[in-house]
């Protein structure tokens, strides 16, 4: 029976492809950023990712368009150019967003294409989807980099626009499936979750998930601030400061002391 390459024709909406990404999954990776998000996190550093629509804004006197519709085949043409580097570094393809799971068929087809290429696949996502959707992509996914930002549903809703119940529950089911390597990632955001108590709550939950061995804590940064201005939006974080390296080290030590997890600062 001829193999069905139909997945190469699936189309979806992305806003960027970035090569030589080395902090999102193992090795040298190409990240495909899918457009559209379910959350509206105040610290979001990719505000252009949030809307599912294609947007145009004026920047430095030129019109700039965010978002384009592409087929998996087109994306893979870029992805496969870095094969020599994936081979050497065990790297590969990472999907990020936005929330990739809002375009489940496209996300699955991309990951399937990644596996067909023989490279490592990763997904950076909050897990905002029905579990059946997630289940559909797991066979093509080597690493799930899952964001858990807070354990308190109310506070989560206040800062991110939605409660976290579905996502926290999905984390458990993904872990239990045993089909992918699950790594929990936590953005450490001033005023939101930058206390030992709040972070430890996430860490303890992560530690309770079967098979989870690693948690990454990512210090908040304001690199996205300029984009808000370009998009004509006010920057929601004001002049919040990046947590100091010492503070991050303290969190890391606390997490490693009281859980069995390996904790890394940064991705």
């Amino acid at each position: 029976m001829a193999e069905d390459f139909g997945y190469l024709n699936v189309t979806g909406r992305i806003f960027d492809i970035q090569r030589y990404s080395i902090h999102d999954g193992i090795g040298i990776r190409t990240i495909v950023f899918l457009k559209g998000c379910a959350l509206r996190c105040r610290w979001c550093c990719n505000p252009e990712s949030q809307s599912a629509k294609i947007e145009s804004f004026e920047s430095k006197g030129r019109m700039k368009t965010y978002g384009r519709d592409v087929s998996v085949r087109e994306v893979m043409e870029t992805v496969r150019r870095d094969m020599p580097y994936y081979s050497r570094s065990k790297g590969g393809l990472t999907l990020s967003g936005g929330e990739s799971l809002l375009q489940p068929e496209f996300a699955r087809a991309l990951l399937q294409a990644g596996k067909a290429l023989g490279v490592n696949t990763a997904l950076e996502s909050m897990g905002f989807a029905q579990y059946s959707v997630i289940e559909g992509i797991l066979p093509y996914l080597d690493t799930y980099l899952m964001d858990i930002k807070h354990m308190d549903p109310k506070k989560h809703a206040l800062w991110c626009g939605r409660e976290n119940t579905l996502m926290v529950e999905n984390a458990k089911r993904i872990a239990e499936s045993g089909m992918t390597k699950l790594i929990i990632r936590v953005p450490v955001v001033p005023g939101f979750n930058d206390t030992e108590g709040e972070l430890m709550a996430i860490a303890r939950y992560a530690d309770s998930l079967p098979g989870v061995e690693e948690i990454d804590i990512l210090p908040y940064h304001n690199f996205g601030e300029g984009k808000y201005a370009a998009l004509g939006r006010e920057y929601p974080m004001g002049d919040a400061k990046r947590p100091s390296q010492e503070k991050m080290e303290r969190f890391r030590e606390a997490i490693e002391r009281s859980t069995g997890l390996y904790c890394q600062i940064g991705g």
Binding site: I22, P84, S87, S89
Partner: protein, 843 residues
């Protein structure tokens, strides 16, 4: 799996002190060598030149003031002042006298020169009038060659005004056989010379000259032995006293006899390294595979238990300091092209052995660590990478790269070895290659590669396509037809190819003229005897004595030519948005961006010569008003707008460096225009020409002599360096940039290619980052890239260093095939480095 003892050893206080002492004063020019040389030459008139050179070498080594610097373990200094330099009037001297009053304050590589030194040099210089290599070389050149040099198509400045250098000699022979072994070999050869031999005289004189020279070096070492002994007697500190006694013992034994210990081996190495550079002013005397030829002594001493790793490291560090003690003063123009006081003493670790096994050993690690310890521009440390390289060595190399020092440069065995084989070098010699100077592959101890033979600016022939061979109001190159009449992209390329071929032939003419001049006036018996097969053939290196002979001139500006050709292909012939006539006008008018003073002066001189031809008087007022007219020349608003629009269209086109097949293929073709014709030419030493693609730092000064180009580059701005994409044009990250560069046929540029990459420090922070960095290098090399080097420093730091040089005295950056102290570079070169695209991380 091979295990290495690679634990880092701590840097000692002695090393910090030696480094600090080295930089206490500005480098100074000393007159002793020039005086001694001239004294000897006055006395030897009429003798064969090779004999005169040997006698002068001996006279210099006997008379040069000697000094042991405080705390040194390895001794031998060419000047009294640290980092000072001697002068070499036998090659050229006029420039130095002309620059006596400016050399101290010039922007690139200033040297202090005292009034007394000036006076002393003025006394000896007149002797050399009509006797230098540069004068003889010029007399051998065709008039059109001189014209092409005047019009800045290429510059062979390096060997035109200086010694050749650019070799790796048999350090191993001196270390393991001693100079007495070489003297014995010469004596043996002498006994075989037959009275009836047709070359009896040449051969005999040469072999005798070698013996005189080797003995001179032995005697020089003995002077140090005596000095160390005297200082030991006076020394109060018992530890230092002991050290001085040991130095005395060492210098009385090596380099005359085989070294008995690692320490003696290093001292023997150093005397060779130093005295070769006293014999000739050639730079890029490259230690090469130091970890290989030093290892047997290291291993023996370690097995015997007479050498600790700590002491071995300290000794290596001392050698590294000494490599920075040597210096060279070049003329102001060359200094811009070799900015940063560099002597390009390339030392390479790792790679394969001649029989194809991994060559990594403990010393490979210690050499990299020494660079971290001294943190200085010399040696130019490099690493060979092959499929079987020890991973821990690559990670150690990445750790050095992370410091931002720009070392090591990475070289790919998997392309260099086949490229050398393709030039007729058998595999066991090719596998043993080392690197000379910036990036030039070389067979150790067997080759006279004449690497770095000229800088060829690939943009200038392109300009000639637009001007039909005219430059600055006169014919400078062949006519290839009015550009407006070229009716297809193929015709345009054909015109460029013709312009290239014509100027390449002139470049060959210049190099061969200089080559002959060195053969006649500057045979170097000492250097020759350490390179096969000079002794066997009885011929000095400069007259073809080496086993392998090449001439390797380097081209640069590939990125500009590729992007320019793409502009013509796309905008002119495919999309027809622009005519060649319009493009020509845009280039002449610098895209409507106005002219700087340099252009104004150029145009004014054109106006002047045109008036002169017409029989009109040319006064200063005429020139001044012409300059003013150009500077304040205002294009009609409409035309200015169109020119700017043209440049916008050009800048919007895809560019080389972004992994776009169509453009990258053109770059490959552009490189061929330079690399392919060269091997068809022969040099007077019996070898062929082979192309390199690297700029040293000449892309900045030579860019300043180049008008606007069709890639959108403005007049007189730097040309792209080496095979790197134009700064700021490669925007798709390091892998895309690497893929574009790997698309070139590096094997055809067997004299070396140079790829600069600037990486943001945040991409080299964690251990995992280092692994990924190594994978990046490996991924590039898997695609047959040849060389890669890195600056890991952020833009802000460099800008701050420019503003506050006093705070950054120790900031070392990668320039081209070498690193240099950032604050010693000229402003324009600093700017060029700051402009390089910063490949960062994506978050």
């Amino acid at each position: 799996m091979k295990a290495f003892d690679s634990t880092p050893v701590k840097k000692t206080e002695r090393i910090s002190k030696l480094v600090a002492d080295l930089f206490r004063r500005m480098p100074e020019i000393e007159p002793a060598r020039a005086e001694l040389l001239t004294e000897s030459f006055r006395e030897t008139e009429g003798l064969p030149i090779v004999t005169r050179k040997a006698l002068a070498f001996r006279h210099i080594l006997n008379g040069l003031p000697i000094v042991i610097r405080p705390g040194e373990l390895i001794v031998g200094s060419t000047t009294l002042a640290p980092r000072g330099c001697q002068t070499y009037p036998e090659f050229s001297y006029e420039w130095l006298e002309a620059e006596f009053d400016t050399v101290e304050h010039r922007s690139a590589d200033p040297f202090y020169i005292s009034q007394e030194t000036k006076d002393r040099l003025r006394k000896v210089h007149p002797y050399w009038k009509g006797k230098t290599t540069s004068e003889l070389a010029r007399s051998y050149m065709a008039p059109e060659t001189i014209r092409a040099m005047d019009h800045n198509f290429f510059t062979p400045g390096n060997y035109y005004y200086n010694g050749v250098g650019h070799v790796n000699v048999h350090y191993d022979r001196v270390i393991y056989e001693g100079l007495s072994g070489i003297i014995a070999e010469c004596a043996g050869e002498l006994s075989k010379v037959q009275l009836g031999d047709p070359n009896y005289g040449d051969r005999k004189r040469f072999l005798e000259a070698v013996i005189i020279s080797c003995q001179a070096v032995i005697d020089y070492a003995h002077r140090y032995a005596d000095l160390a002994g005297k200082e030991a007697e006076k020394e109060k500190d018992p530890v230092r006293k002991q050290e001085l006694w040991r130095i005395a013992e060492t210098c009385s034994h090596v380099p005359e006899h085989p070294a008995r210990t690692f320490e003696e081996g290093l001292q023997a190495f150093w005397f060779v390294q130093q005295t070769i550079q006293i014999e000739s002013s050639g730079h890029s005397i490259s230690p090469g595979r130091f970890d290989q030829y030093m290892f047997p002594l290291y291993e023996k001493d370690r097995e015997k238990g007479i050498l600790t790793r700590e002491y071995a490291q300290e000794l290596i560090d001392c050698v590294w300091v000494k490599l920075n003690d040597l210096n060279k003063c070049r003329d102001a123009v060359s200094a811009e092209g070799f900015s940063g006081y560099s002597l390009f003493q390339n030392l390479i670790v790792g790679g394969q052995t001649g029989d194809g096994r991994d060559a990594t050993n403990d010393l490979s690690f210690m050499c990299l660590d020494a660079t971290k310890h001294v943190f200085l521009p010399q040696p130019s440390i490099s690493i060979r990478v092959w499929n079987g390289s020890a991973k821990e060595l690559l990670i150690r190399a990445a750790e050095v790269t992370r410091t931002g020092i720009g070392f090591p440069a990475y070289y790919n065995d998997e392309i260099i070895i086949p490229s050398m084989e393709n030039r007729g070098i058998p595999i066991e010699h090719a596998r043993n290659y080392c690197i000379i100077g910036c990036v030039e592959p070389h067979v150790p101890g067997k080759e006279d590669g004449w690497h770095d033979a000229a800088f060829f600016n690939m943009c200038r022939p392109l300009e000639m396509v637009f001007t039909n061979g005219m430059d600055a109001g006169e014919r400078a190159s062949i006519a290839t037809g009015e550009v407006e009449e070229l009716s297809s992209y193929e015709e345009f390329k054909e015109a460029y190819k013709k312009q290239m071929e014509y100027n390449i032939a002139l470049l060959v003419n210049a190099d061969n003229a200089i080559d002959r001049a060195h053969a006649e006036r500057c045979p170097l018996p000492f250097e020759s005897c350490l390179i096969d097969d000079c002794i066997k053939k009885g011929i000095p290196l400069q007259q073809g004595g080496a086993h392998y002979n090449f001439t390797g001139p380097q081209g640069f500006g590939i990125a500009n030519v590729a992007d320019s050709l793409y502009t013509v292909k796309k905008l002119v012939f495919e999309e027809k948005k622009l005519s060649l006539q319009e493009l020509k006008r845009a280039l002449e008018m610098n895209y409507g961006q106005g002219f700087d003073e340099r252009t104004a002066a150029e145009v004014a001189s054109q106006v002047g010569s045109r008036l002169e031809r017409m029989g009109e008087p040319v006064t200063e007022e005429v020139i001044a008003s012409a300059i003013k007219a150009v500077l304040h020349f205002a294009l009609p608003e409409e035309e200015k707008k169109r020119l700017e629009e043209i440049r916008e269209m050009i800048l919007d086109l895809p560019k080389y460096g972004n992994d776009i097949d169509e453009v990258d293929e053109i770059a490959r073709e552009a490189a061929y225009y330079y690399t392919r014709p060269l091997p068809g030419y022969r040099n007077p030493r019996g070898g062929i020409f082979q192309a390199g693609l690297y700029p040293v730092s000449a892309n900045v000064p030579l860019g300043a002599q180049t008008g606007a180009t069709p890639d959108g580059r403005l007049a007189h701005t730097p040309v792209a360096d080496g095979v790197s994409p134009t700064s700021g044009y490669d925007l798709k990250g390091p892998t895309a940039s690497c893929n574009s560069v790997a698309r070139l046929d590096h094997a055809d540029a067997s004299n070396g290619t140079l790829f600069n990459m600037k990486i943001h420090p945040t991409a080299m922070t964690t251990d995992r980052d280092l692994e990924d960095f190594v994978s990046l290098v490996r991924g590039f090399f898997d695609q047959k890239g040849m060389h890669m080097q890195f600056n890991v420093v952020d833009r802000q730091t460099l800008l701050d260093a420019q503003a506050h040089p006093e705070k950054y005295a120790g900031l070392v950056v990668r320039v081209a095939g070498y690193s240099a102290l950032f604050t010693t570079l000229s402003k324009s070169l600093q700017d060029d480095i700051i402009r390089r695209t910063e490949q960062g991380l994506h978050r």
